[in-house]
């Protein structure tokens, strides 16, 4: 049997043969080839993902479901997940990005949650590179057109430019939904004798074997692979959302699963395996868009905007009526049975038959060899004393603010409807995105972030820093972090050095999650992000969700008041390693990022939360990309006020102003509240920077610029 043709490794073939007790047939091999691809099976990372803490007081649903759910209080949960759509977006940017957004929305919907907010992680090549303009504009339009039409606001995101993404841009789509905890729909509750129903669009040839496509490196002839790109229809998705939520409200469904990668097979076998039931499907009952499809094509089609429902026979009529009202196709394609047999019939003939658990869980894991990169330590060499100081500090600050990864992303988020559903308290362009929940005091806050440069230099520290950045931003805003989702974007795991880097990143992230008691509740892995031109930077993307008890306890950014006292909290010696400043000046990434200090991070989060809740500051912002100088400049421009900043520090000014990393934040505190602020931060490094005043930004006599000449997001009033 030529199993390699279907992307199956020898040990996988042997495992399948043993489980079946016979030779798998062609249809079965095709199905296993997709279901056991990296994208669907996580065979290279499954054991690494176990390193993440996934339990906590607020975790309602952890990894393994369509998305994680955390408890927002008062019987309400937030379901959220981030997922990659990198390979499709690289070859068909508009459609790839659009269907990425559609897919993650259905993941949230599958839990019975109403999708209320999206964020996007965009990683583009160098702005001047040939493909970047086409790829970035296509991806942004794809995200926008889909999200806008489907009526889910895009409230935030992260955009990074680096040459490593030239040929292999990344699109990570995050979605969050709200669900009453007593109304969560599970994929584990099917019982024998129930109907398997397909709801939504018809099944066509699009996207066949897309999951397998996402599990290999992009080749130069990737264009030839284009037929496997799915086409998104946000109009159908909007109808699907409303129909599914109506079915759920009327309690007409037992279980629900979205159809993402590997289509019907993946969704149905997952329900069967998780619920511990068998399933018989008749593929001739599937509504088709192309008449002459083969069973394996139907099994693996990634046609969009479809959901798999498990329905009690007595509810079928009502389910059909709801589908008709929303003008969606709806068909019974099979039923659940006793036992764990999963079989596919086509015109009465059995074309495939497995134990249900084999498809989802049977793939033997792969432990790739790991080796610390030979040149890792060499990359750490950075003698700050040999770096010349900027000649013109004003110019340096202005250039830094104009660096593509730091500059305003207005051109992107203006194309996104960030306000539909009228819950957006803080939308894109702010350090955290904040939503209100109608009828409640509680606000939900969320951040999506990444720091691939530091992950490349020291994956453990970089991984920890990436997680910490999201938690710091939330804490400063007054949001208690409840949990996070991650998208692990890495190159091929088959390269031992790349595998080691991924492993260390995961360990670093896990250490930070542990220290800050912020469990991982969902996630996604995207490997093989490399092309002939090279590998992407290691890019774990973190989406963290927190809760603010009431609007009065939310600390905004960009709200300086005249006469406020400015403070930096946190260690005074950051590092230029992997900083935007050093990247800008040298065009290369070097140095060793700061060590991750669990106790310092935890102490920061505790104090920052109290600062917001006790209302002792007018404005706050965690120090992140571009360092303190960029944080000060952003606060100044958004506030429309200047400041005089002057301080003594035990390090070089460029290091303090432009260095990155560590638990730091910039606060603006009304004079009357300074003693309270200081007592709150007792036991933590605290540096008084100066005062908010005038219309100029003056820093230590080296920077002096009128605030209105700094690049700034548009202000209406």
């Amino acid at each position: 049997m030529d199993f390699r043709r279907y992307g199956i490794r020898e040990e996988e073939y042997l495992a399948a043969r043993e489980a079946l007790g016979r030779e798998p047939n062609e249809c079965e091999l095709r199905i296993l080839g997709v279901m056991w691809s990296e994208h669907c099976s996580y065979k290279s990372t499954k054991h690494l993902l176990k390193l993440f803490p996934n339990k906590g007081d607020k975790v309602v649903l952890g990894p393994g479901e369509n998305a994680g759910i955390v408890d927002l209080g008062d019987g309400l949960g937030a379901a959220f997940k981030v997922e990659s759509h990198n390979h499709p977006s690289a070859v068909a940017p508009y459609q790839g990005a659009a269907t990425g957004v559609g897919g993650i929305i259905r993941d949230i919907l599958a839990l019975g949650a109403r999708p209320v907010a999206s964020m996007d992680g965009l990683f583009f090549g160098a702005p001047g590179h040939g493909k970047t303009a086409m790829l970035s504009s296509g991806i942004v339009r794809g995200v926008g057109d889909y999200g806008n039409a489907v009526g889910v606001p895009t409230v935030g995101g992260k955009t990074v430019y680096d040459p490593s993404y030239n040929e292999n841009p990344l699109l990570n789509a995050f979605n969050l939904g709200l669900v009453r905890l007593d109304e969560i729909v599970s994929s584990q509750t099917a019982k024998p004798g129930q109907l398997v129903v397909l709801l939504g669009s018809k099944t066509g040839r699009d996207g066949i074997a897309g999951a397998a496509f996402a599990s290999v490196e992009l080749s130069d002839d990737a264009k030839a692979d284009r037929p496997s790109i799915q086409i998104g229809d946000p109009f159908a998705e909007k109808l699907l959302i409303e129909a599914c939520l109506e079915l759920q409200a009327k309690r007409l469904i037992v279980s629900m699963q979205d159809m993402g990668a590997a289509g019907i097979t993946s969704s149905s076998s997952e329900v069967a395996a998780k619920s511990g039931v068998g399933m018989v499907l008749a593929f001739d009952k599937v509504p088709l868009r192309a008449a002459d499809m083969e069973p394996w094509e139907i099994a693996l089609s990634e046609s969009q905007e479809r959901m798999l429902l498990i329905v009690e026979p007595r509810h079928l009529e009502e389910v059909m009526a709801v589908a008709e009202r929303w003008e969606l196709d709806c068909a019974v394609i099979g039923e659940t049975t006793e036992g764990d047999g999963y079989s596919i019939l086509f015109h009465g003939e059995e074309v495939a038959s497995f134990p249900a658990s084999l498809v989802g869980d049977g793939c033997p894991p792969i432990h790739w060899p790991a080796r610390k990169p030979d040149n890792l330590e060499k990359g750490w060499e950075l003698d700050v004393e040999t770096l010349p100081l900027p000649e013109d500090w004003n110019e340096t600050l202005l250039s830094l603010l104009s660096e593509p990864s730091l500059a305003s992303k207005e051109w992107i988020y203006d194309q996104y409807d960030s306000m539909v559903q009228t819950n957006t308290v803080r939308g894109p362009g702010h350090p955290v995105s904040v939503l209100r929940i109608k009828g409640r005091e509680t606000l939900v806050a969320m951040v999506l972030d990444a720091d691939p440069w530091k992950c490349a230099l020291d994956p453990f520290r970089g991984g920890a820093e990436a997680v910490a950045r999201t938690v710091r931003a939330l804490a400063v805003a007054g949001a208690e972090p409840l949990g996070l989702t991650d998208c692990l974007n890495f190159p091929s795991p088959e390269n031992p050095e790349q595998y080691w880097v991924m492993m260390e990143c995961i360990k670093g992230m896990a250490a930070c999650c542990e220290a800050l008691q912020c469990p991982v509740v969902s996630g996604n892995v995207s490997l093989y992000n490399e092309s002939a031109a090279g590998a992407i930077l290691p890019t774990p993307v973190i989406g963290t969700v927190g809760v603010i008890p009431s609007v009065g306890q939310f600390l905004p950014s960009g709200r300086w008041h005249d006469g406020d006292v400015l403070f930096q909290v946190g260690p005074c010696i950051p590092s230029l390693a992997g900083s935007q400043y050093l990247l800008m000046r040298e065009g290369r990434n070097r140095g060793r990022p700061l060590e991750f200090l669990p106790d310092v991070e935890a102490g920061f989060v505790r104090r920052a939360l109290k600062t917001a809740r006790d209302g002792v500051a007018s404005s706050g912002r965690a120090v992140a990309g571009g360092g303190l100088a960029v944080a000060i400049a952003r606060e100044a421009t958004e506030s429309g006020l200047g400041a005089v900043v002057s301080f003594e520090i035990p390090t070089r000014r460029d290091v303090l102003l432009f260095g990155e990393g560590g638990a730091r934040a910039l606060y603006s505190v009304p004079m009357a509240k300074v003693p309270l602020f200081k007592s709150l931060w007792r036991g933590f490094p605290l540096l008084e920077l100066g005062r908010v005043q005038g219309a100029e930004l003056e820093i230590n006599g080296v920077i002096s610029v009128p605030v209105d000449t700094l690049p700034s997001p548009r202000r209406i009033r």
């Binding site: 946000p234 109009f235 194309q415 996104y416 539909v420 009228t422 209406i716 009033r717």
Partner: protein, 234 residues
Amino acid sequence: MKTAVIIFPGSNCDQDVLYAVRNTLGTEVRAVWHGEREIPDGTDLVILPGGFSYGDYLRCGAMAARSPVMQAVIDHGRRGGLLLGICNGFQVLTETRLLPGALLTNRIPAFICRPCLLRVESTATPFTSMYAEGQVVQFPIAHADGRYTLPDDELKALEDRGGVVFRYCDGAGNVTEESNPNGAMNGIAGIVNEGGNILGLMPHPERASEAILGGVDGCAFWRSIFSTLQERRV
């Protein structure tokens, strides 16, 4: 005051406008499915909400304008009932010809979502009576097809009869090229019919009706409608 919000397949601001009316006025609001043949008895105000009815396929609002419920909506408007189209709803109203003109793809052909400043051109409508003439208000826009266009002679007729209700402007109330986000003729953001009872506008007052969302300039819009209807009753 009774309000009916029509829901077309693909509408996505229906719940937002329901909420804004209820939250601002505390009055009765009902959702009406596009497949209905009638609107509830005693409806004072019909709202065609924003969104992407029928996916914006073919032309924005074209298919919604021909859906079953629209005959009842048109009759309501012809009888002098208040009829409001926001964003996609404005597109639907032009497609039904209850309002003149058409809404074309933005000058820069992309979706654009941002707060906009508008000058209130007319307070002699049931929708704007509680604003001051020339007042500058801030409502967000969110559309890809908002470039209001109509033939020159009709444009002149519209201007001459004072049918323009909102115009994009800058902070000082000046209508300029820069303050016009989509290239609409004469910076037109919203218009009213000759009878004064049918209004269409691209910006979203329902997104500017609560302080927590960043603006309350839309509240006077709903209150104007409420007070007009109160006066009519007296």
